[in-house]
Structures are given as structure tokens and as C-alpha cells.
Amino acid sequence: MTAQTFDCRNAWAEAVAEAARADERVVVVVNDSVGSSKLNAFVDEFPERSINVGIAEQNMVGVGAGLANGGKIPFVSAAGCFLSARAMEQIKADVAYSEHNVKLIAQSPGVAYGDLGPTHHSIEDFAWMRTIPGLTVVAPVDPVETAQVIAWAAGHEGPAYIRVSRMAVPAVYPEGYQFVPGRAVTLREGTAATIIATGTTVSRALAAADLLAADGGEVRVLAMPTIKPLDEAAVVAAAAETGGIVTVEEALVTGLGGAVAEVLAEQHPAPLRRIGFRDEFAVTGTAEWLLDRVGASPEGIAATVRELA
């Protein structure tokens, strides 16, 4: 039986509309990305509060900063590749350094655009965004968490960069789960090793843990929805209590993997393997296939964990 899967954009669209109903300061800013952000219903319900600047990402983020200056709570939503790379200086200066209360929503990030190719991938975003002071970086894992992260962002005073993926993912968290920014979530207990995953790779990590359990080894699985600020205590505990750490991300390994490596090197050296994209532009392929290709399939993750042992 295959578990039901979800496109997290639907959860985002419902959550931002809910936030807009609750708080009239909430607005969305887009770059001709209404459809790809699943915002058609939002635009129908809040036409005045839907600001489409056209295909102009630098302007889009600057306008978002100005709206925040004017007391609004802007959700700036665009394909992650263009939002992160094209408007990087605006994210740095107008949003983060200026402490403007802007929510940057990176749609279809990582390799979600698959065979459209590297121009449309944003595998660099974790690595880039986590270098910017004051910017919270989040990659929700499933639709429940996506909705909770959007609700949190609407109420949180401060800039945030949030990935919203179109890749099909199953519901991962147990009933009653509540997102807490900056906190890892233990989805499976174990001591043989720890798999730390984020966003779309968490369900793959859980499947890998099932494979490893069949070998007789129980691994810990941590979901790390917040890339920054990182739950350093959870990383150090994993290093102290389990045999080593494998990180898995739909991004360059300098994102979550880099952040974990820094914590281990400085606080608690331990064996580490990082699964994700390396120093090359991706070959042509679907998102799922590209993830499998870099070793982020359940089998690939399990094999990497076995290498640690």
C-alpha cells in the first residue's frame, strides 16, 4: 500500500489565506507567480492585498521590505531559484539587515523543478540563506508542518525564508504535532546512528530507518525543519548518544550538512556523512530521480549509514 502524498503548496495557500483573514496586515507579493504559488483563490479573496509586480524579483523583495516598513506583513512568494539568487542582495540589505518583517516563501525549491534543469534548481539556498544574520530558515516536512510554519511566520516579528515544495510527500508527523522554530523533532529513537533530514527528505530517512531495522540496527531519525537557527543541542546529543550522523537534504551538502558539520567540529567531533548535491550542476532528470541519484533514496541512505558503522 502506498501512503497518501501531498503537494505542500496547497497547505501554504490555505494557511496564508487563513492568516490574511485573521490579520488585515497580511499581504502577498509575487512575481507573476500566482498560479505556481497556488494563490489564485487568495487573489480572488484579497485582490487589493495581492501585489503582483510582474517578472521583477529585485523589485519584488524591495517592495516587500517597503510594505513591512509601512506596517504590513508581506509574504513574498516566488520560485526558490529566482527568489534566492536574483534578489539575494535585497534579501541581505532590504530585509535582513534592515530588520524588515518580510516572509520569503521559496516555492518549488531544491530540485523540485527536476528536468527543467539547474537554472530552475535552488539547491544553494540553504547554504546562502544560513549565512545571513537574523534570517530564520525553515524547510517544512509535510503539509501539517507547512501550515503551522506559515501561521508561525505570520505572528513572528522578523524575517524568515521558508521553503514550500511541490514534491509529493507523505504526512510524517504524529497527531498533535506542533512546530517549534529552532527545534529538531525525534521521529524515531535509536542509538546505532542518527539520520538528520529536512523538508522533502524526511520521509526518505524514515524509510531508510525501516530498512536498517530489518538488519537489526535501530537508528535515530531527527527531522530538522529549521536550518537556522539550528538545534545544536540535538546534534550534539546525537553525536554523543549514537554511533555517527548522516545528513540528508534536497540541497547542496553545505546547507544542513554544512551546519551540522560545523557543530560537530566545534562541539563534539563524531563520524559524519552528508547526502545531498555536490559541486556540479545536476544532469537532466526528475526531482525524485535526482534525489535518488545523489544517494537520498531509502536504500542509498541506509547504505551510507552502514558505512558509518
Partner: protein
């Protein structure tokens, strides 16, 4: 952010940086133009303020051994006309964070010293803070920051950022049904940045009549004439084509500048092409490309102060005759 104190008035945080040498005399904190002043009295007040700003700003650069005097002197008249007269803003509104205040975004953030000095002359910033310009831990960066100076709206410096932000504050006012206005001050060389044209297009499309962009048309960029680098002309035609109302004025003549700044657009955003001289009005600096960020010698500071004091003397003579 900590509340401003009396000593640290206008600063977001209390810090204790080293102090630059004191100026030859304290600036006159002229404050806003008094209510009910006539046009002549207002212009006089603003001319005094502009001259105060320039004579203090050059001493700051002389002491700090860094700054961008040429492009600061070209916009000084605009800065004082906005902060001391045209804008609906006051030190009290800034301190209270009044959401209904008018906004000024200094897109050419390298002119920070002129901004800080105009804020001090206008009563928005403690004059002593000017002695901390560029010093370790100072709130007075080489480029302005809203998390350091209360009256600053955006952290600018990289060019081509101010206009999109201003479009955002103007849209926010429209959403609020508020009459508050947004002003943005751009360099002419800065218009070579494409992000400005994205924002010109958006503002024209949305007919943001509450937005006024002042373009400091001093014809010089860092190392050469704009016309010799990547020419902007026909600038007015371009702006009209983007849906803006264009007003061309002498940007170093407060009597001409003031009415252009006061009247909002009727049904579209307003671009004021302020024809200025870099370094105005200092004889050796004026329209001279060398003075983008050149530091004056003590002797050059003295020459400039003598020239500026000549202007002050004439203004004061006019005052006693009236």
C-alpha cells in the same frame, strides 16, 4: 531596540565610540520651519539649514578622513527642505514611531553624512553624534541604517534598492487609505541599476501618486561623467514613458525645489529631476568629478568654511534687514 535617551537622542542603541575632533563651533539646531512661516521665511530658514549642514559635514569628513562630499552637497538642499518643511514628520513622530509619518528613503546611501547632519540640524539626531561618524561601534555608518538611527527608514548603500522599497511603503499607504507620502532620493548614476526601472514600471502601473522620487541630476558618477559612462538621456522622456509625471527644477535652489516637492502627483507618481552640481556651492568642488569621495585638506576645509560663512553672512544680513 532601546529607547533614545536625551544624550543619545535619535540613536537606536547607546554606544560610546571614540569622538572625532570637535567642529569650529556647534551647529545651530534650527528644527523644523515654524508653523505659519511665510514662503520667504521658510526659504530663509531652509537656506540657513542647508548652509549649516554643509559647513558641519565638510568638517566631519575632514576629521574622519572619509566621506562622499560631492554627492552630499548636491542633495543637501533637498534633504533640509524635506525634513524641515515638506514632510509630515517631526522628531516626536520619529521617537514615537508614528506609522502615519511621511517616509524618506535615501537610496544613494553613500550620502549618509549629509543625511545625519541634516537630521541633526532638524532636531532628529543629537549633534554630538556627528562626532562619531565612522568610528568604531558608532551608530553612524558610512551608509545609513534604520536599526542604528531612528529617523532612517531603510539600510541603503548598494545602489538601486531605495526605489523598490519606496514603492512598497507607498503601496502600504494606499492599502491603509492614508494620505501619507513617500519620498525617495536617488543618484543619477544610480539609475544605471536595472532594479530602478523595475520599480519605475510598477509605480507607474499602479499610479502611485503618493510617491515622489527626487533624482539628484549632478551628471557625475564615481569616476566619470554619467553621459560618458552609460548615458541616461533622454531621461525625462523615459520617465514619462514609464507613467511618471516629471518636474525639472534647479535642485540647489530651495525656492524652486520646495513647490516641486510639496505638491503630490495628481494621478501618477512624480519624478523630480533635480539639476544640481556635485560639491555645490564650494568653488573648488563644484561639478568636479574628483570630489566623489575625496577628503579635503585642512586648508581646503578652511576655504570651504570661508565661502559658506560668506553665504551665512549674506543670509543673516537679509534677516536683519527684513
Amino acid at each position: 531596540m532601546t529607547a533614545p535617551t536625551t544624550i543619545h537622542h535619535g540613536l537606536r542603541h547607546e554606544v560610546d565610540p571614540p569622538l572625532l575632533a570637535a567642529p569650529d563651533r556647534e551647529i545651530r539646531v534650527l528644527g523644523r520651519v515654524p508653523e505659519g512661516a511665510s514662503d520667504a521665511e521658510t526659504e530663509h530658514h531652509l537656506q540657513l539649514a542647508a548652509t549649516e549642514v554643509r559647513r558641519r559635514a565638510i568638517q566631519t569628513v575632514g576629521a574622519a578622513k572619509a566621506g562622499h562630499l560631492g554627492g552630499e552637497f548636491s542633495i543637501t538642499d533637498t534633504l533640509v527642505t524635506l525634513y524641515l518643511d515638506v514632510m509630515n514628520i517631526s522628531p516626536e513622530q520619529v521617537d514615537a514611531g508614528d506609522p502615519e509619518r511621511d517616509r524618506l528613503i535615501l537610496s544613494k546611501g553613500h550620502a549618509a553624512n549629509a543625511l545625519y547632519t541634516a537630521l541633526a540640524v532638524g532636531g532628529y539626531l543629537h549633534p554630538e553624534a556627528l562626532r562619531t561618524f565612522l568610528q568604531s561601534e558608532s551608530m553612524l555608518n558610512g551608509h545609513p541604517a534604520r536599526n542604528k538611527i531612528a529617523a532612517v527608514e531603510a539600510n541603503t548603500g548598494p545602489l538601486g534598492h531605495g526605489l523598490p522599497i519606496a514603492v512598497g511603503t507607498a503601496i502600504a499607504a494606499v492599502l491603509d487609505g492614508s494620505a501619507r507620502r513617500t519620498f525617495v532620493l536617488l543618484g543619477d548614476g544610480e539609475l544605471q541599476e536595472g532594479s530602478n526601472w523595475e520599480a519605475f514600471m510598477t509605480a507607474g502601473h499602479r499610479r502611485l501618486s503618493n510617491l515622489t522620487a527626487v533624482i539628484d541630476r549632478n551628471r557625475l558618477q564615481q569616476g566619470a561623467r554619467v553621459a560618458d559612462t552609460n548615458d541616461l538621456e533622454p531621461l525625462a522622456d523615459k520617465l514619462v514613458a514609464f507613467g511618471w509625471e516629471v518636474r525639472e527644477v534647479d535642485g540647489n535652489d530651495i525656492a524652486a525645489l520646495r513647490p516641486a516637492l510639496r505638491a503630490p502627483g495628481s494621478d501618477r507618481p512624480v519624478a523630480i529631476i533635480a539639476h544640481t552640481d556635485k560639491g555645490f556651492p564650494v568653488s573648488y568642488m563644484r561639478d568636479n568629478v574628483a570630489w566623489h569621495h575625496k577628503v579635503p585638506t585642512a586648508e581646503q576645509v578652511g576655504i570651504a568654511l570661508a565661502e559658506l560663512d560668506g553665504i551665512l553672512g549674506r543670509l543673516e544680513a537679509k534677516e536683519s534687514n527684513s
